[in-house]
């Protein structure tokens, strides 16, 4: 009796939670079918009873008078898929290194990198008038070489370990995005002047979003990869299998659920990202979040149009999530850890 009461209570709470979770979606869905007057003259809930549904908002959206929807959808799909794949791929490799190798980075080595890169840039750009992209390239290479060399010296001071490196990755996402977004815009503008157009380009957006997604990928994959038994890799090493092969043919397949989960999370972040897209694109590679935000115009909140845009934006993510979710449950994971 007590169990049945608890079960009923749990079911009731779940249903309430379900209602709260689904109501916003339902609201967006029905609003997309409302005429303007039905939106602004008090709440209406049920089509054909409370209001007469119309497809006008969908017609407006798909006809292009509210902006080109197809271009941004295509841009979003291409950029987010490629950037997600790159982020997860590079992030997995970085995470694997953080799980399997011990890094020791002297603080003085890091300081050397900072001093050479900043001081060198000021010198090259300010004194010798070398343009920003070339000055950056030169000082970053020099600073990297110098800091690696300094790291090998028996210098005093703190030594940073793997946890510090992981924190450094994650810290990239801690400061407000505008800090890096605007800096990236300036950098891209300078690189464009030097002859490589990155603003409003596929390459520029993929590079930006790969950097954007990398911290998430490293952070999440580090946890997933740490669950892979090291004995399996040791057994492979006994058979004289190289580290690269071990990573691609043993570790990654065993971490497939983690790869998929990480991909979904990184994809969602990139798919919904607004600020980078706003600053770094104009007409050719504008992404969906810009278009959705644009439905709120100088004429006020046109909720019917915003709802249609939101529905259109949700659909690709629902499809991707469904496919990845299915993959996670399917036999594709037969090689993964049970």
């Amino acid at each position: 009796m007590e169990n049945r009461t608890l079960r009923g209570l749990g079911l009731g709470l779940c249903l309430i939670w379900l209602f709260f979770s689904f109501f916003p979606l339902y609201w967006v869905f029905v609003t997309a079918f409302k005429p303007p007057l039905a939106v602004s003259q008090g709440a209406t809930y049920i089509p054909f009873i409370d209001f007469r549904p119309t497809l006008q908002a969908f017609r407006d959206a798909l006809s292009g008078i509210r902006g080109d929807f197809f271009g941004p959808i295509a841009s979003s799909v291409m950029i987010s898929l490629v950037a997600t794949a790159l982020s997860v791929f590079l992030g997995s490799m970085a995470a694997y290194a953080l799980v399997r190798f011990q890094f020791r980075i002297r603080l003085l080595s890091g300081l050397t990198f900072g001093i050479i890169s900043i001081g060198g840039f000021v010198l090259l750009n300010g004194t010798f008038d070398i343009t920003v992209p070339y000055a950056l390239l030169i000082v970053l290479v020099l600073a990297l070489v110098a800091s690696i060399y300094v790291n090998r010296l028996p210098l005093p001071g703190p030594v940073l370990g793997n946890n510090d490196v992981t924190f450094w990755f994650v810290s990239q996402r801690m400061f407000p995005p505008i800090v890096s977004a605007f800096a990236l815009f300036l950098l891209y503008a300078e690189v464009g002047r030097a002859g490589l157009p990155l603003l409003d380009s596929f390459l520029g957006m993929v590079l930006a979003y790969t950097a954007f997604g990398l911290p998430f990928a490293v952070w999440l994959m580090r946890d997933f990869l740490s669950t892979v038994p090291v004995e399996v890799e040791e057994a492979a090493q006994v058979d004289n299998i190289g580290r690269i092969r071990i990573f691609f043919q043993i570790v990654l397949p065993m971490s497939l659920p983690g790869l998929l989960a990480t991909s979904m999370i990184v994809l969602a972040f990139i798919w919904n990202e607004f600020l980078f897209a706003l600053l770094l694109t104009t007409g050719d590679w504008q992404t969906l979040p810009i278009l959705i935000a644009g439905q709120n115009s100088s004429r006020g909140d046109e909720w019917w149009a915003i709802s249609v845009a939101a529905l259109i934006a949700i659909v690709p993510m629902v499809i991707v999530a469904a496919i990845l979710g299915r993959m996670m449950r399917s036999g594709l994971l037969s090689g993964s850890i049970k």
Binding site: S40, R66, L278, L291, G294, S297
Partner: protein
């Protein structure tokens, strides 16, 4: 023979191309940017079609969210990325954009097409520091929207006159406006007196400015509505502004419930759906009412109310006038087009601007649904038949009459245009919302705004702000 035929065909094609492309911008692609459509962007797209046919050039209309247009344009122009050949923006941003914009070619500043633009736009809003930096492509102002079904109802007329002692007609003062709002405020019948925007971020301050213009835009002290044009001292806490705020707040009593959450997008369907007896708004309320609303055929537009008393900041007293002085407020001021100085195709870009604002193309845009373009040329007011797709004949007459009367009013009030516009209006909205919510007294809110505005003026540089303000109101440099 074959060679002759080919030569003939090629010559014919070349001649045809020469005739078709005037001027010839073959191979030129213009990137023209503004807010997401349909408003304004669709008008640019329509003009692009005719421009492409005439010049053989190509136009990309690039759309961004309205809220992001200002930083997007400013960053692109200041970094000289050359992203845009023409930009559609609002006059309030012109002070910040002007250093990065090219000047309209002299050839466009003459002739009948130029003279056809109303002087309020041609001589004031399009000009910065004596140079024409932009071209108006949309005329915007607040107008009073009434309902003919209520105003012309004999029973309502008799009842109103019996209660207030004067005939029911278009209110010419704000006192009459509130009389009518109170008279028609019948919540039990589902009818409310009026609808105004009060929500922060919902364009509330423009509605407040419309009230304030009537009490602060003194005809003898031009340019003194927002700041003292001699000292740049903020005027927003003077008794004229206080009266405006008290009246604006009083309007809450006659608005539908929850009015503090209403933005401009909400007041339109309230009027068009017949929920309120009137409102004041840009042309959108009238358009919506006559095309999709429950009050179709009953839309009546008038110039916004005025006042017989205006605060004189020089003599520090109220000045009385024998006749009502109308100070219609050109809220927002309409959309403008300009050509950034870093455009690679300035000549073609200005040619496109000329196409957009030409009497033919703009004349079509003003009567196209959802174009967001409102009249700004004398010729736009001439042909009532053009408006048959939007308004009935009576509605069109009142719509155009209200627009023209507002523009022609000798004491027309221009919107605030100043470097740092967003900083000033952000402060304004914060304190205004507190006053409307009853968290602070109106005078205290206005004092706080004035203090912040003066601090901002110091921050931006008092001398440069003063020079900019004087330029914005058409006063000569000091």
């Amino acid at each position: 023979m074959k060679k002759l035929l080919l030569t003939t065909v090629a010559f014919g094609a070349m001649t045809g191309a020469a005739i078709a492309c005037e001027p010839d911008y073959t191979g030129v692609t213009l990137n023209v940017s503004t807010q997401n459509g349909p408003a304004i962007a669709s008008a640019l797209a329509a003009a692009a079609v005719s421009w492409e046919e005439r010049t053989c050039g190509t136009v990309n209309v690039i759309e961004f969210p309205f809220g992001e247009l200002y930083p997007k344009f400013l960053t692109a122009m200041s970094q000289q990325t050359g992203d845009f050949d023409a930009i559609g923006f609002v006059p309030a941003w012109l002070p910040d954009f002007a250093p990065f914009l090219s000047t309209m070619p002299a050839a466009l500043q003459e002739g009948s097409n130029w003279e056809d633009i109303h002087p309020v736009y041609r001589e004031r809003l399009m000009v910065w520091n004596g140079e024409v930096k932009s071209a108006t492509m949309d005329g915007d102002m607040h107008m009073l929207n009434l309902r003919a079904d209520l105003l012309n109802d004999p029973d309502e007329q008799a009842a109103f006159e019996a209660e207030y002692g004067y005939p029911l007609a278009s209110p010419v003062t704000w006192a009459q406006y509130y009389d009518q709002a109170a008279f028609f405020h019948r919540p039990n019948d589902g009818l409310f007196g009026t609808a105004e925007a009060y929500r922060r971020g919902g364009q509330q301050f423009w509605y407040f400015f419309s009230h304030a213009a009537s009490y602060t835009n003194h005809p003898d002290n031009p340019g003194s509505m927002f700041f003292d044009p001699e000292t740049m001292e903020a005027q927003i806490n003077n008794p004229g502004w206080l009266r405006a705020l008290e009246e604006y707040k009083r309007g809450l009593d006659y608005n539908p419930p929850g009015a503090l959450n209403n933005g401009s997008g909400d007041v339109r369907p309230l009027y068009a759906g017949g929920t309120v007896a009137m409102n004041y708004d840009w042309a959108d309320s009238g358009d919506l009412g006559s095309t999709e609303g429950a009050i179709e055929g009953h839309v009546l537009l008038f110039i916004v109310p005025g006042s017989t008393e205006i605060w004189n900041h020089v003599s520090d007293q109220w000045d009385s006038f024998d006749e009502v002085v109308h100070s219609p407020f050109l809220a927002f001021g309409g959309w403008q087009l300009a050509v950034p100085a870093d455009s690679e195709n300035p000549e073609a870009a200005w040619d496109f601007v000329a196409e957009v604002i030409s009497p033919e193309v703009s004349g079509s845009a003003i009567v196209t649904a959802n174009s967001g373009v409102n009249p700004y040329r004398f010729s736009h007011y001439e042909n009532l038949e053009n408006w048959s797709s939007v308004f009935s004949e009576e509605e069109a007459a009142s719509y155009l009459g209200a627009q023209r009367a507002s523009l022609d009013a000798p004491n027309v009030a221009l919107d605030l245009r100043l470097p740092g516009f967003f900083s000033y209006t952000e402060v304004l909205e914060i304190e205004l919302s507190k006053a409307l919510a009853g968290e602070v007294e109106p005078q205290a809110a206005l004092d706080a705004i004035a203090e912040e505005w003066d601090a901002l003026t110091e921050e931006f540089g008092r001398d440069s702000q003063l020079a900019a303000y004087r330029a914005s109101v058409g006063l000569p440099p000091m």
